[in-house]
């Protein structure tokens, strides 16, 4: 079964200097349980691709299907509901809520996705990323590597069917990077989720089942 399929996706966004064509006919599919790495120069459209695939942004044209549901013509709320507990994202800049502890960050995401047993799940997810001693720390009190591990725990905790990770190690040193990559690949192996991973780190890309290259809006 396919976890994700994109067919002939175009994305054009308005900008100050006229419309910019960002994705220029992207075809892409990922099977359930597959791990795919996407590499490519900065500005080539990798993040845009993930946005469209995760239903955060509507393609200008083309057909996108996520977890068996066509994304075309769905309202933002429909898409949000579709993501609940089944789709997770990890960002380069962590995006933790600064007003909540590590534990609450993970817990809140589970609660919003309406997943039962949020406390136990959050605890074990943080345990799994090696942060059981940091449960009550605020993001400001954590190092970058630790913050990203909280973000990974938050992404893994619901037991999603697919995880999109956009340069999750881009802001981290090499030791932390390796740790975060280990966590992602290690857990995916256990749960059988699909992983779409954007990275500049070829070492990390190598760990994926296959690697694709994005170049000027085209994926190859």
């Amino acid at each position: 079964m396919q976890a994700l399929s994109l067919e002939d996706i175009f994305l054009t966004l308005p900008s100050a200097s006229g419309p910019v064509e960002i994705l220029k006919g992207v075809d892409f599919a990922a099977d359930a349980g597959e791990t795919v790495a996407i590499v490519g120069p900065s500005g080539s459209g990798k993040s845009s691709l993930i946005s469209v695939a995760a239903g955060l942004e509507r393609a200008t044209s083309g057909a996108a299907t996520l977890l068996g549901t066509s994304l075309t013509g769905r309202s933002e709320d429909d898409l949000a509901r579709l993501r609940r507990g089944r789709v997770s994202l990890v960002f380069q800049s962590f995006h933790l809520l600064p007003t909540m502890t590590a534990f609450d960050n993970v817990r809140a995401a589970l609660e919003i996705a309406q997943i039962a047993d949020a406390d136990a799940r959050a605890r074990s997810a943080l345990d799994a990323v090696g942060l059981s001693a940091r449960l009550n720390h605020y993001p400001g009190q954590l190092s970058g590597g630790e913050q990203q591990r909280v973000a990974v725990a938050r992404a893994l905790a619901p037991g999603p069917d697919i995880i999109f990770a956009d340069e999750p190690t881009g802001d981290l040193d090499s030791v932390s990077s390796a740790g975060v990559a280990d966590l992602l690949f290690g857990n995916i192996e256990k749960t059988g989720a699909t992983l779409v991973l954007v990275t500049h780190d070829l070492e990390i890309a190598k760990r994926a089942d296959r690697t694709l290259e994005m170049r000027d809006g085209h994926l190859s």
Binding site: S47, L56, E57, D77, A80, L97, M100, D104, A109, I112
Partner: protein, 843 residues
Amino acid sequence: MKSLSLKIALRELAGGFNGFRVYLACLCLGAFAIAATGSVTTSFNRGLAAEQRTLLGGDIAFTVVQRRATPDERRWMETRGAISENVTLNVMGDAGGVRRQVDLRAVDNAHPLIGAPELSGGIDTLSKALAFQDGAWGAAVSATTLEQFDLEIGDKIRLGPVDFEIRTRLDRESDGLGAAGAFGPAATVSLGALIEAGRLTNGQLFRASYRMLPASASLADLDAIAADAEAAWSENGLRVRRQEDAVDGLQNLLAMLNSFLSVIGVAALVAGGVGVAQATSAFLSTRVQSIAAFKALGANIGLIRSAYALQLGALAALGALIGVALGAAAPFALFAVAGDRIPLPQILSLYPAPLVQAFALSLIAAALFALPAFGRASATSPAALFRSLTEVTKPPVPRLERALTAVAAVALVAIAAATSPRPLVTLMLLGGAGGAYLVLIGAAWLIRRAARHISPKLQGLRRIAMANLGGPGSLAPTIAPALGLGLALLTLVASVQDNLLRQVRETAPANIPSLVFSQIPGDAFEVFDEILVREGIDITDPDIYRRAPQMIGRVISLKGKPLVEEDVAESERWVVDGEIGLTYIAAKPPVAELSEGDWWPEDYDGPLLVSVEHDAAKGLGLGVGDAIGFRIFGREIEAKVASLRRVDWGGFGANTAFILSPGMLDAANPPHFAVAKANAASERAIIKTLGEILPDVVVFQTRTFLAVAARLLGNIAIAVNAASGIVTAAGLLVLIGAFAAMTHKRRSEAALLKTFGASKNEILALYASEFAVAGAAAAFLGGVMGVGAAYPVVINVFEAQWHFPWTTILSISAIAIFAAAIGGAITGAGALAQSPAQVLRAR
């Protein structure tokens, strides 16, 4: 160095005012409030000062009560200048079956010495209109008289003992403010008519005033005339009135109003100050990286300070200037809109003093609120280049800025008090506002702690809402003080207004007499009582009917020493600064509550004793056993204080400051006054019967006075409400600023929540509830403090009954919470407007 900092400042200013709209608006609003109240009251004050001679009706004037000037006095005056005599009294008007009290003024042919009355509809010269002609005296009557008696020019009206023919309508008196007869029917007639009828003989109730235009009216000459008069005639009870006395009361009222409104203006600056602080730190946080970069390049803290001080100072000056300019225009706008409804004379002009005051106060307020954030930013370590600046790593405020903040706070209070016409009142009000502000800041801290405490116990979005309130960037420290101060003020004003209106509309009509009778002849009590009994009044019930002698007197000495008016507490000055009503009673009135001393025996006939109202006694420094001297109808009498007594001024009965013992004064056989409660039908019957049997008794129907009081109250309330509305507006501005400062952060939060699967409505509800909780806290505290401040004002200042203004408070709170929730939803909608992809990508 200097020019470099200027260059940096200019370059940044050229970047536009975007982040500074709220900063500018907050300062502008505060400056406007202060400049506007100052300019408006100054233009009234100057107007009054310019009119004081006209309002006095001469360069100097002399008054006596219950008599006219003696031939000696009159000769003394005439040798010094031109004289015009004026008598004022209350009489009953009677025409076409209507009988009601009329304010009567009788003038001689020389009246007016200054100016001219406005007449219309008939003879247009006052002396001609009033003259005896075709067998009748003439009268000039106010529009209210024509209306209430349903008369036209040419009709007849009986005023007191004389039948008059109405010859003209009196629209404005030469020496009056606003329309003639605005508070009730008024008429002007010829002195000759009343003299002929014998109504102005010694001992009757009236006041005679003699206005003078001396040959030379230089200040020195007037001072000399006043001194001569004091020396020659003060023993006789003749009082000198100077021009400033004619406007004294009004100017005092204006000064009080000005103090109060200026403090509200400062409160607007303080409420807006939160916005200034927030805008400053928001702006400087965007400059943290460049400050760090400047430092890394070798710039010292002094350069950074002067660059940003120049910039913030220039913007503060701009905001204040705009406010001051609008404030300077306020009097012009006010009179363009409502000029004909304001009876005070005004001189429209640019008055620099209030404008300078407003400008200075606004700049100081800007310094006060911007300095801490400013200090923090300039203390930024160059290391900030290497990490993002979170709340935790914010540097402390440097000592220089901390000291300057304290100096600014002191300067703000000092300038506000020093420029106030009532510094003490201003200091007290500022103290109250400052205390409220501190309470609100403390409350914000508590809200944050509580929210942080509660947040882990909640679920999902509610947890996020509370975590936001509890965490860095919390709304509480902005909303609570900014909105709370305005809401406290609104609640205070609304509660006081509510209670006073209730007093006037409900409490007073139920408790005070509906009829007050004056000038019941000393030999006709029995006849009078009989009339009331016949109309169904139970004259034995002291809650329904009371009658006592009616005398007028003045306090002339305290404890054996001549009275010095200035030594008497201001709130009780009214007791001594002119003639007041006196009475003597044998038996203690049942409602009188003695706080000290004893009442005299009912058959007491010894040396004169007096029972003094409690507060008046304290104001005069009198205790039981002290002596107080009165001049009553030309006689100087000393009485010993026998008791102090509490009076319910809003209640029923003999509410006079002094009640004397009987016996000694009986011989004078003075007229009596009486109060009675009656229904509308018996009121009419009593007034009619009195007209046939005792036509000289003047009857006041209190209902009409209460209606006038309610109207006046409403007018003053408009000004005060408008001013407190400005503080709330400042609070709202701050709120808007808070929203604006937050959209960036909120945007990424909302986008993130969407990736978790939260729907739009859930996110809107999250922000609405977060803001509503902060708004509710502000409303609750503001309400509590407003009511807390209103209670003593209602009880002690207005001596009215307290009634908890539930509806007012609940509606103010509901509106505040609703507005905050709407603000939250708008912020949320703004945050949701962008697609999450954009937000999460853009860092």
